[in-house]
Amino acid sequence: MNALALPLARPASVASEPARAKPVIRLEAVTKIFQPRGRTAPVTALADLTLDIAEGEIVGIIGRSGAGKSTLVRLINGLEKPTSGHVIVDGVVLSELAESDARTARRSIGMVFQHFNLLASRTAAGNIALPLEIAGVAEAEIKTRVDELLGLVGLSVERDRYPSELSGGQKQRVGIARALATKPKVLLCDEATSALDPETTGQILQLISRIRDEIGVTVVLITHEMAVVKAIADRVAVLDEGHLVETGATFEIFAHPGHESTRAFVAATAKVDMPDVLRTRLEAEPIAGGATILRILFSGPHATDPILARLSRSTGVEFNIIAAQVEFIGGRPFGNIIVSVPWSKQTIDTIQASLQGLGLSSEVLGHVA
């Protein structure tokens, strides 16, 4: 649909720049096949996946249920070994380590869970101390570090509360502090906000983003929600049935989704949509004397230009704006406008050609009488 939809071949954007820096996580042709018990066929959870994640980057990995996201997480923290290929974290080939060395290596990877997985028998401070106790850190040092971490996530006051006395957002803050306790290089978040309401989700994502800025930790965000990725990820990798189908800077993925699965995710997150009264009247074929409904995506250098006004003047067509929104993705403006214009083949062709000339994409959503 769009000549620019080649995200795999677009390395140039600012946000994808870190990909060329030293990779902290390197997945080389990783395949994971499960042989379920019984006589069922083997399941290929991940197929020939190659991905580099650079130091200090926030990478969103998005996929539908069963796409292989959790399997990928378990490979990155070495809880699962690939059937073939290599998993390299911070220069260590995790997939080849003996269990005892893998345990030590896991301390440089912090993990945040969807359901927090906090010990009910320990206070906030006690939970944060656990990974330090496991690593054999001296008691006095644990105390200082725990206080520091409580401050970092804004929970100093709640230090002696048990998880049952904390809100979901506060529990996840404890989860994040715990994950950071051993000063890991990598923070792995598996659906870390999926159990939270939208407002709390926003706060937790901002916290993760701030922590990345402050301590430079590399963040891998596993999610099935594009909104999460859109909020803080520098780069996105799309998983579909075990295959990595698309990677690219977050903005590019939104502006020019290449794969069908990516498009579905982008569409699901678009806040701009037709009113239902209009949608129900939508026809696939043009109607003489009727109108055409167009979606225009504004991105790149022209996102903030008064393009509609200019088009209207040059073509003499009157646009009727049905819905519009401009949001910022990866710090860049991204506009999404739905308009109706009086139908005539020539008008529509002219508009689409002009838009394409400006590097903007448009899509005919349908026609109304």
């Binding site: 923290n77 809880l79 345990r103 030590t104 290596a105 896991r106 301390r107 990877i109 993990m111 869970f113 359901h115 997985n117 010990l119 009910a120 028998s121 320990r122 656990l130 990974p131 106790e133 496991i134 690593a135 048990y162 998880p163 049952s164 006395e165 051993t182």
Partner: protein, 221 residues
């Protein structure tokens, strides 16, 4: 009741407390690690040793299905080996311990299996060894539930201890049989039964209170 009988009652209460207390302690000492092992050693679990799990599981089941009074008699040679004698209050501790350890092991096992598997996953992701997971995660998280189970075990030990009169173990139950039943002194029987009820009640209340204090899953003051 004669002062002699009152003295006997006090002495028998002491014997019961001694037998139940020591065997509960020893039973826990053996039962806790055994239960932790049973809960973590099936295939795919953190201390996977399916063969050992099956063998120990079978031994535990066999001990638990043997009626207590038969167990007492059957292990007399073993009791003599451990206690130096097969008769008396101290000797009675051996069969009581052997009966309670497997019971406690199963209680500990089921309490540990109740712990959210997500916590094991989290601890593994932190790089914890299987032993660290057992000590720092599973047992602390299961402690409230284990406490309730141990209360149950102590209560059944109190009832078992009434049977060790057969090997001269003494205690309240024995007193009840000898005076209350054989010498037909219903007032002694009544006092014995009331004492046992009071003992069970206080053990249960103490256990409940402790378990509630340890349970941090629910919100409370």
């Amino acid at each position: 009741m004669s002062p002699e009988i009152v003295y006997q009652l006090i002495f028998a209460t002491g014997q019961t407390l001694y037998m139940v207390g020591v065997s509960a302690l020893l039973g826990t000492l053996f039962g806790l690690p055994l239960g932790a092992f049973l809960a973590t050693s099936k295939s795919g679990e953190i201390l996977a040793a399916p063969a050992a799990n099956a063998v120990i599981g079978a031994v535990v089941n066999a001990t638990r299905s043997t009626p207590f009074i038969i167990l007492v008699v059957a292990i007399i040679p073993f009791t003599r080996l451990i206690a130096g004698t097969s008769i008396g209050t101290s000797a009675a501790i051996v069969p009581l311990t052997i009966a309670s350890a497997p019971f406690i092991a199963r209680i500990v096992e089921s309490s540990i299996r109740e712990v959210d598997p997500g916590l094991i996953e989290a601890a593994r992701a932190m790089g914890a060894t299987p032993m660290q997971i057992v000590r720092k995660v599973l047992i602390p998280e299961a402690l409230s539930s284990i406490t309730l189970g141990l209360t149950l075990a102590v209560v059944s030990l109190i009832s078992y201890s009434a049977m060790v009169g057969a090997v001269g173990g003494g205690g309240l139950g024995d007193l009840g049989i000898r005076y209350g039943y054989q010498r037909f002194m219903p007032d002694v029987m009544l006092v014995v039964v009331v004492s046992l009820i009071a003992l069970v009640q206080s053990v249960q209340s103490a256990g409940d209170a402790l378990a509630r204090k340890l349970n941090r899953r629910a919100r409370h003051g």
